[in-house]
Amino acid sequence: MTRPNSLYRRLLTWLLLPLMALGGLMVLQAWIEARHTADRAFDRLLEAATLAIAEQVQWQDDRLWLDLPPAALEMLATDAEERVFYALYDARGRFVTGNADLPGPPRESDGEASTLRFRDLSWHGLELRQGIRRSRLEDWRQRERFEVRVAHTREGREGLTNELLRANLVYILGMAGLAGVVVVLAIRGALTPLTRLRRAIRARDPRTLAPLELSLPRELAELRQTLNELLARMRRVRANQERFIGDASHQLRTPLAGLSARAELALRQDDPQRWRDALEAMQATSARTSHLAVQLLSLTRLDNPEYQPDLLPLDLGTLARNAVRTHWAGCHRDGIDLGVEAPEAPVTVPGLDWQLEEALGNLIDNARRYGARHITVRVVVTPPVLEVEDDGPGIPAAQRLLMLRPFHRGSDDPEGSGLGLAIVDGIARTHGARLRLDDGTGARGLKVSLQFPGEAS
């Protein structure tokens, strides 16, 4: 609750703030209501007083005459001892008698014979409530209009208002307290499953990837579901890794066992010529094994998701020509036609030259090994593509994706490690390039292409 960014606090704030605003509104409304009620009660006094005075208004000596009943004034003063003012005005608004020249409302057109109005008035620094009665004489001849204005100060009204408000305030405060307690309890109850989830995760064995089994409300069940999906992915990744390690150790064990058997066999013989043959064979095997170890190493490095090398701009054409130059002699020896198709203008992409060289080497090597007669290394300008095409047996479309997995081989070739295409795939990923396996020209052979992102520059 004291931490700045807490769900509990946020909920509490957003529930209690509106609650408090609502409470404030209720208090305001209660005050207005109380004031209104008090005014209504006390306005009766003004009404009675104006009536008592109006009844005493007469026509005498050719003028309005008032024999003021003291009781009319006394009824305006309650226990609160209000100040009392009264005045009588004639039809033209002239002061007839009274103890104060009270301002009246603007004169309206003479509609009804008798009207009664109340209003609040601020007069000489006093807050007054005024009652105004318009009436007329009910004499035989005289129908003179007149206006009685009385006013008193608000002490009695304020007293009643406060009394009413106090009763309401107790009620409102009680409700607010109850609501606050309920809100706090509700938030605590709602956040309990979160605590349970946290405890369940913390209590788990750190090595286990088994899904979480915990009954949770719907919103948290979604979180649990996501968490379980993540765990499932991690389980698959771990299975892949385990298989890779198994395959790798298997691949390394076979040539090592061969080496060991060959050496044992040679040691049983005394002929130096046999020893030499054995040593030559052992050298070839160990060279292959070390090549395999290098490939495994580079694949491990490429598979590391945290491996982010700095890419430098390089020319694909130069790269292709250099690769052809490197491998040409070997291919020529085996009677294979290795050629390059690259534009004269440089096709520049960001990349690592040694990686791309290895990729090209792997692809040319693969093509040679699977019996191609013609191998073409090609560079396309737009979009920048590096491809190697051969006229070998090719790979059926259904198996192409499998070929990218380590140790998967298209045929039982003892020479191949089964890592070539997997390494090319890793290099393509490092460069953000797309690796495609397609049929070669004329639906024969295989075309492997690396399509680099963006335009060549």
Binding site: Q58, Q60, L68, P70, L73, R83, Y86, T97, N99, H124
Partner: protein, 376 residues
């Protein structure tokens, strides 16, 4: 001879001085170390005879306050205050409606002291207006009248007396002229509210050619020298001392109803020395000041803790049911209403002159019916 001289002196003090304007009492501040001298200006409608013991006691308690008391008649006091509301610190007057009107119009400032809070609710209005005395309105009768006709103990007795012996009492009765005296008008309003028989009494007064006076002092003067046998509606506080010194007179507190008037004190909102004013008010409504009023004046102390002679308590225990203190409320404002005043004085005059109408029947017919017609 000495006796007569003393009488004259007393007369001057109690009666005649009521009408005299602008008498000053001044108590200069005594120098004292460490205390800054204060000032206090009091305007009162209270005779110096009565004011002096109160002021002297206050000054003895607070000698560093330079005290000025100015005795004014009730109406000049009211008008002078409205003209210069910032020159006076305490306003004391027996003209209850006028004092009430000043407070009602917001000219008084509230006094929030323990003394003010302890003051009985019936003797104050808000915490602005304090009734500090308790003075019954009484009759003063000469012994000659008591010996001949018995003691008129109530208004009913008086009415019967007047109706039975108009010839003997002709010109021997005196009362306030409400047309001239504000106090007399105030009593008339209160009495007419109390009972419709008041008008019979006025008619009886008219029938005996009752003399009309402007002040209590004037009436007492006539009673002392024997011109009048009966004075009606005299201020008890003034009459008491005179009666005590004149065995020929007797004061009658009517036992059916007795009006009680009270002097009202307030501190104006613009009082130049409010601290001193509050101190004086606290003294005036505190036990100390009230004790002075009870012991050394005949004004009647109001303080509820005080008993014994010279207090409201004493008067209540002897005339409890009959006492009708003037209610300190907005009803007093009606007294000041001009039309009300005209209406009452017209009625009063009509009742007072009724006997003349009965002497001339045709004229009386006119006189009696005209206002009644007009009222419809």
């Amino acid at each position: 001879m000495i006796h007569r001289l003393l009488c004259l002196l007393l007369l001057w003090l109690s009666g005649a001085s009521l009408a005299t304007a602008d008498e000053r009492l001044h108590y200069p501040a005594r120098e004292m170390d460490g205390e800054a001298p204060g000032r206090l200006v009091i305007h009162g409608a209270l005779d110096p005879t009565y004011a002096r013991p109160i002021l002297a006691d206050f000054h003895a308690r607070y000698p560093t306050i330079d005290l000025t008391y100015r005795n004014l008649d009730t109406l000049p006091l009211y008008r002078r205050f409205l003209e210069a509301p910032g020159e006076v610190d305490v306003l004391m007057s027996s003209a209850m409606p006028w004092q009430y009107r000043l407070a009602n119009d917001g000219h008084a400032q509230p006094l929030n002291t323990p003394e003010a809070r302890a003051w009985p609710a019936w003797a104050r209005w808000r915490r602005e207006l304090f009734a500090v005395t308790f003075e019954p309105i009484v009759m003063v009768v000469r012994r000659e009248l008591i010996e001949r006709f018995g003691r008129p103990a109530s208004h009913a007795d008086l009415l019967a007396l007047l109706q039975r012996h108009p010839e003997v009492l002709r010109g021997r009765v005196v009362t306030y002229d409400p047309n001239v005296s504000g106090a007399g008008y105030g009593y008339a309003i209160e009495e007419s509210r109390l009972s419709p028989r008041y008008w019979d009494l006025i008619a009886a007064f008219g029938a005996t050619d009752t003399a009309l006076a402007a002040t209590t002092g004037e009436m007492l003067e006539g009673l002392i020298d024997g011109r009048f046998w009966l004075g009606y509606n005299l201020l008890g506080s003034y009459a008491r001392e005179v009666v005590e010194r004149h065995p020929g007179l007797e004061m009658v507190v009517p036992d059916d109803y007795t009006l009680v008037t009270q002097r009202l004190a307030l501190i104006p909102r613009q009082a130049p020395h409010p601290d001193e004013a509050r101190r004086f008010m606290d003294f005036l409504i505190g036990k100390a000041g009230q004790q002075v009023i009870a012991r050394e004046t005949s004004l009647g102390a109001v303080h509820p803790a005080l008993t014994g002679p010279g207090t409201a308590w004493a008067l209540r225990s002897s005339h409890g049911d009959a006492l009708r203190p003037v209610t300190l409320g907005p009803g007093l404002l009606a007294t000041l209403d001009d039309l009300k005043r005209q209406a009452l004085l017209t009625r009063w005059q009509r009742e007072f002159t009724r006997h003349q109408a009965s002497l001339a029947p045709t004229a009386s017919q006119d006189d009696a019916t005209r206002p009644a017609d007009a009222r419809q």
